[in-house]
Amino acid sequence: MLYAIFCYNDEDVVFSWSKEQDDAVMAKLDVAHQKLARNGKLGPAVRLMPTTAATTVRKDQEPPLVIDGPFAETKEQLLGFYVVDCSSLDEAVEFTRDLARANPGGAYEIRPVRLYLPGSEMK
């Protein structure tokens, strides 16, 4: 089963990290990534820019309304996501535990993937 794992955290906190703190977290996360990647189970992963860079297109009217900012104003923001190939939810939970140990705070949302389009190689 493919799972998408969405990473939520308070971006005020994450963007208060010094470069050293950020690098340290990324290095720790990389250890967790490698564990999965070695078994060919790690698909695309994305780290997003802050929600201040986001634009929302509301399609409940015609033409759709373009608004600055994220879809939802929440305490914790969507900061990135993974696509992983796990044999069970338990395995996916185990992976997010590794991630959480490397980068405490916030939450991960695990969602089984319904349709996966790998897309083309981007340059």
């Binding site: 308070d10 005020d12 906190v13 963007f15 208060s16 990290w17 010094s18 703190q21 820019m49 802050p50 929600t51 201040t52 860079a53 634009t55 373009v66 608004i67 600055d68 900012g69 305490k75 405490p104 705070g105």
Partner: protein, 426 residues
């Protein structure tokens, strides 16, 4: 003993600070009281969060605990009653949720804006605005700020005390601002954030490491302002401008600490992550079709950032953007910067013709003579160029600037005109 949670707690306290102090300031209407209450709340958070884990909403927790602690302290002084034990405040779940809901309303934005705005009081000289913002909003310690400004701790303590007295005497504006007043506040706060950045950015190589945190703090404040006003293209422009300038930090000085000109910088040392963030913000700002000085300056910086090699720089467009900036902000320094682009597009004679009328207003300005010398050199007027460079060295504000002109002079002498390069700012 290291505590892995301490980093997290530290980051949470830092990021919650503007909102928490802003709200406490609204309750107490007194900056000292708000700061004391926040301090007390932080002490309790260090103890409590390590035991009980992080609260769902750190800012709400700090506001709630800070306000109660201050009220308890007043009661304590009045009736010699024992303070409540910490366990009583350790489970805040319901109260916290109620408070968090109230924080969702409009107060949140105006609280932070007010806190930023009181640092921009027009009676405060620029350096005091910056110092007091770093102390109150960012929570840097007096020794940290003193180090960044290269002054003694006692001098900085005095400066901040004086600034806070001016703020108290001026009276903090507590009424909820109207739309026009809010826009004015945002403009003043944006200028103050740019000042914080420039305090860090204008440092020489010896001080750059000590002062870099000021640039990072300014970027954090700009992002905070942008989250409060997500549809303000000028705040997008300001944030992009700071990101683009900071992206070059690693390339601005060589191993010996000498200034490296923009066109000589190793572009592989530019921070592509910051540049990408800035370009995304500029894209968003452009959609609004409401250009302003920060957006134009960011667009100029972006053209430099987009050029893979110096010779790929789109100088014609930079010239056009400076012309737009001149119309928005008529200012001899803008014209001087434009002349650098004009020299690239139409040649040094046209650029020299453009800056000569600025002489009366820029007769005390280091960069004016630096650019003038470089242009004269390119035109083969070596003797006049040497005179201009001499004036520049005499007007240099720092040893690094003087050294930079000497290097510039040496290089132009070596290259021999024409073909030298004019550059207003590194």
């Amino acid at each position: 003993m290291t505590d892995p949670q301490l980093d997290w707690i530290d980051a949470a306290l830092t990021s919650a600070r503007p909102q928490a102090i802003g709200a406490l300031l609204r309750y107490f209407r007194n900056l000292d009281a708000a700061e004391e209450a926040f301090q007390e709340a932080c002490l309790r958070a260090l103890k409590n969060w390590r035991q009980n884990g992080p609260p769902r909403d750190p800012a709400a927790w700090l506001i709630f605990v800070g306000r109660n602690a201050a009220i308890d302290a007043v009661r304590h002084r009045g009736r010699e009653e024992a303070l409540p034990p910490d366990e009583v405040i350790s489970d805040l779940d319901d109260a916290e949720a109620a408070l968090a809901e109230r924080l969702e309303d409009a107060h949140y934005r105006d609280d932070i804006l007010r806190l930023l705005f009181i640092c921009c009081h027009p009676d405060l000289p620029a350096t005091q605005q910056v110092a007091v913002a770093l102390r109150i909003v960012s929570g840097l310690s007096v020794p940290q700020i003193a180090r960044a400004f290269l002054v003694s701790e006692s001098a900085m303590e005095q400066r901040i005390t004086r600034a806070k007295r001016s703020i108290a005497e001026a009276g903090v504006p507590f009424e909820t601002p109207g739309a026009v007043e809010r826009a004015d506040r945002v403009t003043a706060v944006a200028a103050m954030i740019y000042l914080v950045f420039n305090e860090g950015y204008s440092a020489g190589s010896g001080e750059a490491a000590q002062r870099a945190p000021l640039c990072e703090e300014a970027i954090r404040l700009a992002r905070l302002l942008l989250r409060l006003f997500p549809s303000e293209p000028e705040i997008m422009g300001l944030t992009a401008l700071l990101l683009l300038q900071h992206a070059r930090a690693g390339a601005r000085f060589d191993a010996d600490g000498a200034i490296v000109l923009l066109e000589d910088q190793d572009r592989s040392l530019w921070n592509r992550d910051l540049i990408a963030q800035a370009l995304a913000l500029i894209d968003k700002a452009m959609r609004h079709n409401r250009p302003g000085p920060y957006q134009v300056q960011a667009a100029i910086a972006a053209l430099h950032a987009r050029a893979a090699r110096p010779q790929d720089t789109d100088w014609a467009q930079i010239d056009g953007l400076y012309a737009a900036l001149e119309r928005m902000q008529p200012n001899p320094v803008v014209t001087l910067n434009r002349a650098v682009a004009v020299a690239k597009v139409r040649g040094p004679a046209a650029a020299l013709e453009m800056i000569e009328p600025l002489a009366p207003r820029l007769s005390g300005y280091f960069h004016f003579f630096g650019v003038k010398g470089a242009l004269l050199m390119q035109l083969g007027r070596a003797e006049e160029a040497r005179l201009a460079f001499g004036r520049a060295i005499a007007l240099a504000n720092t040893a690094a600037e003087a050294a930079h002109i000497r290097m510039h002079l040496d290089r132009l002498m070596r290259d021999s005109a024409p073909g030298g390069q004019a550059q207003a700012t590194p």
